[in-house]
């Protein structure tokens, strides 16, 4: 009858919000990939899906190897990455300042917000035929698709984030002698900075979708172009590898973004 009184309850791993060790987090994350590959292997090698529709993992990676070694795929990957980064950076450079101005100054917001909200719903991919007409099939057209897809989204989300700056912090800054410029640059901007970085990370992910669509429709290089080409030869291995590679690049940039955010915003560690 000893030991029942005052026994310490161990928190269950599945109690809400119970933290998980970094090691367990990585293990769980990798476990899903393992399961995913296992399911894929069973589906293909087990004969559940015809090879014509879905290549098996080995064929897929062999196709990837051939793409890089024989068809200079690295060049396509570089072209696509440069398009995504180029379009995204141009959009962000223009959208972030406008978003900040809108979030901070209500007349500016009243002027731009209705149009930006409208423009945000214009599907970037629907512009592709028009953009081909205007800009041809060159880089400018690819950048324009990404720009349209990213710019309006970034503007709106940043305007909201800046506008949500805690009022009491703004008031405290006023009583410390800050003017409009100080409030915007040294209160609102640092307050919203971590979430602005999060927003950019999110939109960069969308930019990948736009670039691939643009490359599927009118391009002679890039990952999307390769996927389109492979379809003609019914090479599902190559197609799947292309899609996979985009996911992998996305995952790596995501991890990079997060690491940079941790470095840039040390005050919110442990949040």
């Amino acid at each position: 009858m000893t030991g029942t009184v005052g026994r310490r309850r161990r928190p269950s791993t599945f109690a809400p919000l119970t933290p998980i060790s970094p090691r367990a987090r990585v293990t769980f994350g990798i476990a899903f990939f393992v399961l995913f590959f296992a399911a894929w292997s069973v589906a293909t090698w087990g004969g559940f899906v015809k090879p014509l529709f879905l290549a098996d993992p080995l064929k897929t990676f062999a196709a990837g190897w051939r793409l890089f070694v024989e068809f200079g795929f690295a060049g396509d990957v570089a072209v696509t990455i440069s398009r995504v980064v180029g379009g995204f950076v141009i959009a962000a450079l223009l959208a972030v300042p406008l978003g900040i101005a809108m979030g901070a100054f209500k007349p500016i917001e009243a002027f731009f917000e209705p149009f930006v909200s409208f423009a945000r719903y214009l599907p970037a991919s629907a512009f592709i035929p028009l953009l081909i007409l205007w800009l041809g099939v060159d880089e400018a057209q690819k950048l324009a698709v990404i720009f349209i897809g990213a710019f309006f989204q970034i503007v709106l989300m940043i305007a909201v984030l800046i506008g949500e700056t805690r009022r009491d912090l703004v008031e405290a800054a006023y009583t410390l002698g800050a003017g409009s410029r100080g409030i915007v640059l040294r209160v609102m901007l640092p307050y919203a900075a971590p979430q602005i970085a999060e927003t950019l990370r999110l939109v960069l992910g969308w930019a990948w979708t736009y670039v691939i669509v643009a490359e599927l429709i009118g391009a002679d290089s890039g990952i999307g172009h390769m996927i389109m080409d492979s379809q003609r030869f019914l090479d599902t291995g190559q197609m799947i590898f292309g899609i996979f590679l985009i996911g992998a690049i996305g995952l790596v940039t995501d991890l990079g973004f997060r690491a940079v955010n941790r470095l840039l915003f040390p005050w919110q560690l442990g949040r």
Partner: protein
């Protein structure tokens, strides 16, 4: 240093969705002499914060005006330092950088800011915490930093809106002594809002009792206790007498406020 004169200042908030407007502060007059320490005491919701925010320039009076050293208040400024009840340190700045925020806005160079911050951190007992971020600090330490941050501009007056309201009893007593020491050293004009009677008597030279909403100044009680004050003064008969007088007065208002909200 600053003398404040509040002339017929009142505040009415517009009604919500066409409802009747809320009168938070009845037009009132009040003068605060240079270097005086005045406590504004009243039940919750009686308009204390509203009045303080008007003096700070964070809110506009619907009638009347506030003069600080003869100049009309038109907006917030570094001459009136403020400490809020809620924690308002900038989370992205360290203790040292938070304290240096005001000087930075005035264009004070970094080395000089550091000197100011070091001196204030010593004064409020935060030496060794210069590089801590606010989330690493206890509530008491955050409010000490907020006080140091307000003092860094060397303001003519301090406006304090229940700055210790969220702190536990022990921490609160220590903070009261700290603020008293600061006042005894610098003799800045202080307007201190609280609903804690003992706190008001212990620190202030004049205690003003506000009525329940709409706020007016109901009575004024002078606190003739000498400076420097020691916490043991809280147990003297004189202290108890003033406290009782104020308790009586504010009890009526608290009852009225309760009846009004029922």
């Amino acid at each position: 240093m600053a003398a404040v004169s509040i002339e017929g200042v009142g505040r009415e908030f517009p009604g919500v969705r066409g409802g009747p407007p809320t009168r938070a502060v009845e037009p009132l007059d009040l003068t605060i002499a240079d270097t005086d320490f005045v406590a504004l005491l009243g039940p919750s919701g009686c308009g204390k914060s509203t009045l303080l925010r008007i003096v700070a320039g964070l809110d506009q009076a619907t009638e009347g005006r506030v003069l600080v050293d003869g100049r009309e208040v038109e907006g917030p400024g570094a001459d009136r330092g403020m400490v809020f009840q809620s924690y308002t340190l900038f989370p992205w700045l360290t203790v040292c950088e938070n304290i240096g925020f005001g000087p930075r806005e005035r264009g004070v160079p970094p080395a000089e800011r550091r000197t100011i911050a070091d001196r204030l951190m010593a004064q409020v007992g935060l030496t060794g915490f210069a590089d801590h971020y606010p989330r690493m600090l206890s509530g008491g330490m955050q409010q000490r930093t907020a006080l140091a941050r307000a003092l860094a501009n060397d303001p003519a007056m301090l406006l304090l809106d229940e700055p210790f309201g969220a702190l536990d009893h022990q921490t609160r007593s220590l903070m009261q002594e700290l603020l008293l020491q600061v006042w005894e050293a610098d003799r800045k004009t202080v307007l201190f809002v609280t609903h804690d009677i003992q706190e008001a008597v212990f620190m202030a030279n004049r205690v003003l009792v506000m009525t329940a909403r709409p706020g007016r100044i109901k009575t004024e009680v002078r606190v003739p206790l000498p400076h420097p004050r020691h916490w043991r003064m809280k147990t003297t008969p004189e202290f108890a007498r003033i406290e009782e007088e104020l308790t009586e007065s504010i009890r009526e208002e608290a009852l009225r406020a309760a009846a009004m909200n029922a």
